[in-house]
């Protein structure tokens, strides 16, 4: 056991040695996670060096998007599975975290009900629905954050891959999946707060979500998750299983006829990707402070794919670059020229597809 984990360690180091972009990314991540908390906590709020809580949260939010983008790159860039429904797994992880945060509000809600969240009191419900049981315990919520997206991906992927649904047909049914979930979550009687979703969270693990220290802790947890997610995905891609995954992308039938159970590989990778997306969603919700059914919107899922395409697919770190670049642009545009954002996104996608087919990092790599 010790020997095998030492072996894994040395193989991981070898994989990272060969991955220049990845080292650059992980180095940057370490520096950012060191500097951001310092600049937030140490300088006085009046100082020019001070980073506001808003900025810390914004960077934290971008990092959750980066995890989501890596998860999509893992299946799309390396295995050719174009999911246009990954926003659904992100949102489910977010809802699971949201349910925990709602139960934490307790008597501090508008109606002061110790058990029922406000929206249930408002709907005149008398008791907690069965699927809300357990969410007052953090470990149970964490379990659900992993299990709910994972099991949905398992069932969906099992049916889709077993019937050999692939290419554009798979993309379309993933869109349908997230759209169906959106409609379901919009309904009040589903028990997830209808179109308002969950908000007005008070604290997490007993710490107030408004305090700087909690914000920084969430920020660091997200940075750790992002780094861990990257290293895990790099390890998988650099293993022999990772080479099989890419072989399936390039010549699925050849892989099948030399004895690989292509469906199992795809299913396994799809479930892993969904779990990572769920974790990203769970980290997103306490930082952003709200989750509602619009997270399931099909356009959200398409945007994720655009991040990956713009950053450069099949590199992992390209997905991170794309997610941050596009979302930074989005923050800027929706502030300065709100009506222009969708046009800008469309134009960006067209320009990248035409002139930078390997994305931003691909263009940089070609020059150096």
């Amino acid at each position: 056991m010790v020997k095998s984990s030492a072996q894994h360690g040395s193989r991981l180091m070898a994989a990272l040695r060969a991955d220049r972009g990845g080292r650059l990314f992980l180095g940057t991540l370490v520096i950012v996670s060191a500097i951001v908390p310092l600049l937030n906590l140490l300088p006085s709020p009046a100082s020019a060096l001070h980073l506001s809580n808003y900025t810390v949260t914004l960077i934290g939010k971008y990092m959750t998007y980066a995890i989501l983008a890596i998860a999509v790159d893992l299946i799309w860039g390396y295995c050719g599975i174009l999911s246009l429904g990954h926003g659904a797994f992100f949102a489910l992880g977010g809802y699971a975290m949201g349910m925990y945060l709602m139960r934490q509000i307790g008597t501090r809600g508008v109606y002061g009900n110790p058990i029922l969240p406000d929206f249930m009191v408002f709907l005149n419900w008398k008791e907690l629905p069965w699927f809300w049981e357990g969410f007052n315990a953090f470990p149970y919520a964490v379990l659900m954050i992993v299990l709910v997206p994972g099991v949905l991906a398992l069932v969906f992927g099992f049916l889709a891959f077993r019937s050999r649904v692939s290419g554009v047909y798979l993309s379309i049914i993933t869109q349908a999946l997230t759209y169906a979930l959106m409609l379901a979550f919009f309904r009040n009687d589903m028990g997830f707060g209808g179109n308002n979703g969950f908000t007005d969270f008070k604290d997490i693990l007993g710490f107030s979500l408004q305090s700087s220290a909690t914000r920084i802790a969430l920020f660091l947890a997200t940075a750790l998750a992002l780094g861990g997610c990257y290293v895990l995905c790099r390890f998988i891609i650099a293993s022999r299983a990772g080479r099989v995954i890419q072989a399936i992308r390039d010549a699925e039938n050849r892989a099948r006829f030399i004895g690989y159970r292509v469906e199992s590989y795809k299913l396994w990778l799809f479930v892993l990707s969904a779990v990572l997306s769920g974790i990203a969603g769970a980290l997103y919700v306490p930082q952003v402070g709200i989750i509602n059914p619009s997270e399931f919107s099909p356009t959200n899922s398409i945007e994720i794919v655009i991040w990956v395409a713009i950053g450069g697919r099949g590199t992992l770190y390209g997905a991170v670059v794309g997610a941050i670049l596009v979302n930074y642009a989005k923050t800027y545009f929706t502030d300065a020229l709100p009506s222009m954002w969708l046009y800008a996104l469309g134009a960006l996608f067209v320009i990248v597809t035409l002139f930078l087919p390997r994305g931003v990092v691909g263009a940089i790599r070609a020059r150096t």
Binding site: Q7, R243, Q246, A251, N253, A255, R256, I258
Partner: protein, 271 residues
């Protein structure tokens, strides 16, 4: 509807590979195809096809377009399920009960008509991926290539004449070299039966010659079925030729016997 049901049925084939030792060819026959019929929308691609292939044999299958050559390969490798008939690999492995990967793992290798290799992987990695073994995600996540396995890969590289290209990306190989690499990938699995679909299409004369040598050298250790249009090539390698026509065997024998057959001349050679 019927074909949809058939497709569903073929999905439910066992994915468990037949144990290698179970391929029993003690009667001297490696492949038994009996009475196999396949139709697509009323068109009979195979019509009560019966064919036996002996251990260590190099068998050429010829026939005009639409004679059912590729469909026959699809049946053997589990891609298509016939309506009637039986297909046995040795005396104990029922091919109709196994999935494609399970058939591959039980010892049947198939080369596609269009050369299909993993273009973004190196030549070495292509062979490494094709290696026999428990090809599951969990085993392969931790798998390391042992010195013995590297030796095996180098041996196969020698056989297919690609030693010099060991670390090159497979996508950079010439058309002919890709065909050889694909044959090499089949050899990595230690198959008992090799199915080779049009190996010399698009090759230069020198490449054709080397391919002929390669296939002849493989026969004996393996049983080889070659589907080919190029009569010159078939003449240069074949001992036994089977002529397919409209989904069943029209004639079988040495190339001279077959070419002398009046029916064969009429449907195929007589143009």
């Amino acid at each position: 509807m019927r074909s949809a049901l058939d497709r569903l049925a073929s999905r439910s084939r066992s994915a468990k590979p037949a144990p290698r030792a179970a391929v029993d060819s003690s009667h001297g026959v490696i492949l038994y195809l009996e009475d196999i019929t396949v139709s697509f929308d009323g068109f009979r691609a195979l019509n009560a096809l019966t064919l036996y292939v002996e251990v260590g044999e190099l068998r050429c299958i010829i026939g005009p377009n639409g004679a059912g050559k590729t469909t026959m390969m699809d049946v053997i490798t589990g891609k298509t399920r016939p309506e009637t008939g039986s297909a046995w690999f040795g005396q104990t492995v029922d091919l109709l009960a196994l999935s494609e990967p399970a058939i591959a793992q039980s010892g049947i290798g198939r080369k596609f008509q269009k050369p299909t290799v993993f273009e973004n992987h190196s030549v070495f990695e292509n062979l490494e991926l094709a290696m026999a073994g428990p090809k599951t995600v969990w085993k392969w996540l931790a798998a390391r290539t042992t010195a013995e396995q590297v030796d095996h890969i180098d041996q196969v590289l020698q056989t297919i004449g690609l030693t010099e290209r060991r670390l090159d990306i497979a996508g950079a190989l010439s058309h002919g070299q890709k065909q050889w690499l694909e044959i090499g990938m089949l050899l990595m699995q230690d198959p008992q039966l090799l199915l080779v679909d049009e190996p010399v299409a698009g090759m230069t004369p020198q490449e054709v010659e080397r391919t002929a040598e390669l296939l002849v050298s493989l026969a004996g250790k393996h049983s080889v079925i070659v589907v080919e249009h190029d009569m010159e090539f078939v003449r240069s390698i074949a001992r036994t030729v089977t002529v397919l026509h409209e989904g069943s065997v029209l004639a079988q024998g040495s190339i001279d016997e077959v070419q002398a057959d009046a029916r064969v001349q009429q449907v195929y050679l007589g143009e």
